[in-house]
């Protein structure tokens, strides 16, 4: 089987090297197929067209990118990788470990990426000293998205602590509005729990438990308290939340059916698409008790080990991706913030400006953490085991926080 794969790979390689001249085309696999995302990607397309490179789109629809990753695996296994592919976190490192990625170090040093890109992101774009991916953006997860009209109606103010948050949710409940819009899918529940843990245990604790997977921290009373806090939040969710998509939960906030959603800043794209303005229609706060820290995930363009004649196109793509103009233009549309800290924030709205400032502060202060729920805290096996436990807790298969902590330790240990 392996021989066959190698044979097909060789065949494919010779087929490509048969043309000696450079291929003026980039092939890009991604799952940004929704309207806003496609528009954002268009910016890159035009930038590359200016340099004379054609764009060959390989879109594989599906929000989480599962289908895209399956398609990518097949392409790479067949020895025919795309020039680049949208990838997340540990997936990049998996492919790099398997020796499938290219090397962009020269370009990276020439362009000064190593200084501009936050160190936390470099953990995923640099493998074994070599640049293997170009980060496109930084999303952060510890946000509250609040409907301003509802907030005014119930007379709420920005919650600074977890207890404030509970008080605020109680006010909404008393006013007959669904306090918390939650989508009952495991990644959404775990994304919210990321923030709860950071709020309950503080930055040190989050890093220890969810980035270093320290067993003492995972077993600790602080983790139990985090689960208790999650159980409190669950009380404010409408009974029909199970299985709801994240954008439907966002829509509840947009329409004023619900007060608040805890979600990554991609939710801002939905507000934007609905024609809402930050400050007047909706409010963005950091999850109470997590101000100053940023839990991030990031989209990366993984750069594959392509034949020699496609390298020039790949380098052009990487340069264009990390250019300040693209980083700004793209992230204004996408709702995220630039992956380099030296991009001016002039084009961004209030929430975007706050996001950029927070990222810079967190990067300088060492409080920038990979989101475990989004696959930036630990490899996929661990991240999924974590999502399982959180989801089972939210849906009642696990009933006490003691049990949840035991399960979490066991599941993470199993998956390691």
């Amino acid at each position: 089987m392996r021989k066959m794969l190698i044979a097909t790979a060789l065949l494919a390689a010779t087929a490509f090297t048969a043309h000696a001249e450079d291929v003026k085309e980039v092939q890009m696999l991604h799952w940004w197929t929704s309207g806003g995302e496609a528009a954002a990607l268009n910016v890159l397309k035009q930038d590359l067209a200016k340099e004379g490179y054609a764009w060959k789109d390989v879109p594989v629809a599906g929000g989480g990118g599962d289908a895209a990753m399956t398609a990518l695996k097949a392409m790479v296994a067949a020895g025919n990788p795309p020039t680049a592919s949208q990838m997340l976190g540990y997936t990049v490192l998996d492919y790099a470990e398997a020796g499938k990625m290219g090397d962009l170090t020269e370009t990276a040093i020439a362009e000064g990426w190593d200084k501009a890109v936050p160190a936390a992101l470099q953990k995923f774009s640099v493998y074994d000293g070599k640049w293997v991916a170009a980060p496109v953006n930084v999303h952060s997860v510890n946000w509250l998205w609040i409907n301003k009209a509802v907030m005014d109606k119930i007379g709420g103010t920005e919650p600074k602590t977890f207890d404030d948050f509970i008080v605020l949710l109680d006010k909404a409940k008393a006013a007959g509005v669904t306090p918390l819009a939650l989508g009952g899918q495991n990644w959404q529940e775990a994304t919210m729990f990321d923030s709860v843990v950071l709020s309950t245990g503080g930055p040190e604790f989050y890093k220890k438990a969810f980035n270093d997977l320290d067993e003492e921290a995972l077993k600790s009373d602080t983790m139990k308290k985090s689960f208790d806090n999650l159980a409190k939040l669950k009380e404010y969710v409408d009974p029909n939340f199970s299985g709801r998509d994240w954008n439907l939960a966002t829509a509840m906030v947009i329409k004023g059916d619900a007060l608040v959603q805890v979600m990554g800043d991609w939710a801002k794209g939905e507000f934007k698409a609905a024609g809402k303005e930050p400050g007047t229609d909706y409010l963005c706060y950091r999850f109470p008790g997590t101000d100053g820290s940023v839990i991030y995930n990031s989209d990366m363009f993984g750069m594959f080990d392509v034949p020699e004649n496609q390298k020039a196109a790949q380098i052009a793509l990487a340069k264009a991706t990390l250019s300040k103009s693209f980083q700004s233009a793209f992230n204004v549309v996408k709702g995220s913030v630039p992956a380099r800290t030296d991009v001016p924030d002039t084009a961004f709205d209030a929430c975007g400006k706050k996001g950029i400032a927070d990222l810079k502060a967190a990067n300088d202060g060492g409080t920038l953490f990979g989101s475990l729920a989004q696959g930036y805290g630990a490899p996929p096996a661990v991240a999924n085991a974590y999502k399982d436990v959180v989801s089972k807790f939210v849906h009642g298969q696990i009933t006490t926080s003691d049990e949840a902590v035991n399960q979490l330790v066991q599941a993470i240990d199993d998956a390691k």
Partner: protein, 320 residues
């Protein structure tokens, strides 16, 4: 078996014909079917049985995101074993196999019962049978994805049945199985039965039409009531149809994956998973190819445990 014995019988008579042309033609006749079948046979051998062996091999390795060919022993099976017998509260694997038992049993029994009942009712020479038959059969033409999505909307308390009845004034009506971890697997049964029972009805109807009317008339003359007639004569005569229907339903139950994904996307906290969902998740999404392969092997063994005795009994009947 039958094929080889026939060719063996032909061979002496072919070599007895001395002229060369004749024997060439005879040879060709003998070989032609084999030559024509060879490519599809080879493809099947490689892509089905070859990959089964490959999967079995992978299940004994430490494969993560990509196949890894160093054997590391039955670690994956040990994990599945532990997840089956030593996990409390239930692991995803335990949930998957208990769901399989619930879903498989109910799906098969209800489909058979409902299919038989519909077939018997339709067999009463009623008017408009030509119209009713395709109406019941039509769900089978839909893919499981469509069935899943349609039922998802229908069963969603905020959208479908419950919401509608509330709007009509029956506000005490309550039906939220699709959001309930303990009952969600039964909604999968409902959608699955809706899809397949029409097809089973068609199978039974064909079986009923194939029954010798002389036997029915004779028993009617002997004074059998309709109930006795069906219970003692007709249903026992349908035994071969039961067996075929059982096999079709059993393998549909074991392979069903898309229905769960479309209907509940795994259910609250993964409580609607079937083993095929487990296999896909672990192999392709969680980068645990070895565990995924091991679960696939266990699924194959489960199917074999049903199919092999059936094939054995069928073949034994033929040779008798």
């Amino acid at each position: 078996m039958a094929l080889t014995s026939a060719t063996q019988r032909d061979r002496p008579s072919a070599s007895a014909q001395t002229p060369l042309r004749k024997s060439l033609r005879a040879h060709l006749q003998e070989w032609l079917p084999k030559i024509v079948l060879a490519p599809s046979f080879a493809i099947t051998l490689f892509f089905v049985y070859g990959f089964i062996l490959w999967t079995i091999y992978l299940s004994f390795t430490n494969s993560k995101a990509f196949p890894n060919y160093t054997l590391t022993g039955p670690r994956a099976y040990q994990r599945l074993w532990r997840w089956t017998f030593e996990s409390n509260p239930p692991s995803s694997w335990y949930t998957s196999i208990t769901n399989m038992a619930i879903f498989g049993l109910l799906y098969i029994v209800i489909c058979l019962a409902l299919g038989l009942l519909l077939a018997i009712l339709l067999d009463q020479k009623i008017r408009g049978e030509g119209l009713l038959r395709p109406i019941y059969l039509y769900p089978m033409a839909l893919s499981f994805i469509v069935t899943g999505v349609a039922w998802k909307w229908f069963l969603d308390p905020g959208l479908g049945l419950e919401q509608t009845l509330h709007q009509w004034g029956w506000t005490s009506f309550h039906f939220d199985w699709i959001k309930n971890k303990d009952y969600v697997i039964y909604t999968v049964v409902i959608a699955g039965v809706w899809q397949a029972s029409g097809f089973i009805m068609a199978m039974f109807l064909a079986g009923l039409r194939g029954i010798d009317s002389e036997i029915v008339k004779a028993s009617q003359i002997d004074g059998a009531s309709p109930f006795q007639l069906y219970r003692r004569i007709i249903i026992p005569l349908l035994r071969p149809v039961f067996l075929s229907a059982l096999i079709v339903l059993a393998h549909m139950a074991i392979k069903s994956y898309d229905l769960v994904v479309a209907l509940t996307s795994g259910g609250p906290g993964g409580s609607a998973w079937l083993p095929s969902n487990f296999m896909y998740e672990y192999t392709f999404k969680r980068n645990e190819m070895a565990v995924g392969s091991a679960s696939a092997v266990i699924m194959l063994m489960t199917i074999s445990a049903i199919i092999v005795p059936y094939l054995y009994s069928e073949l034994r009947e033929k040779t008798r």
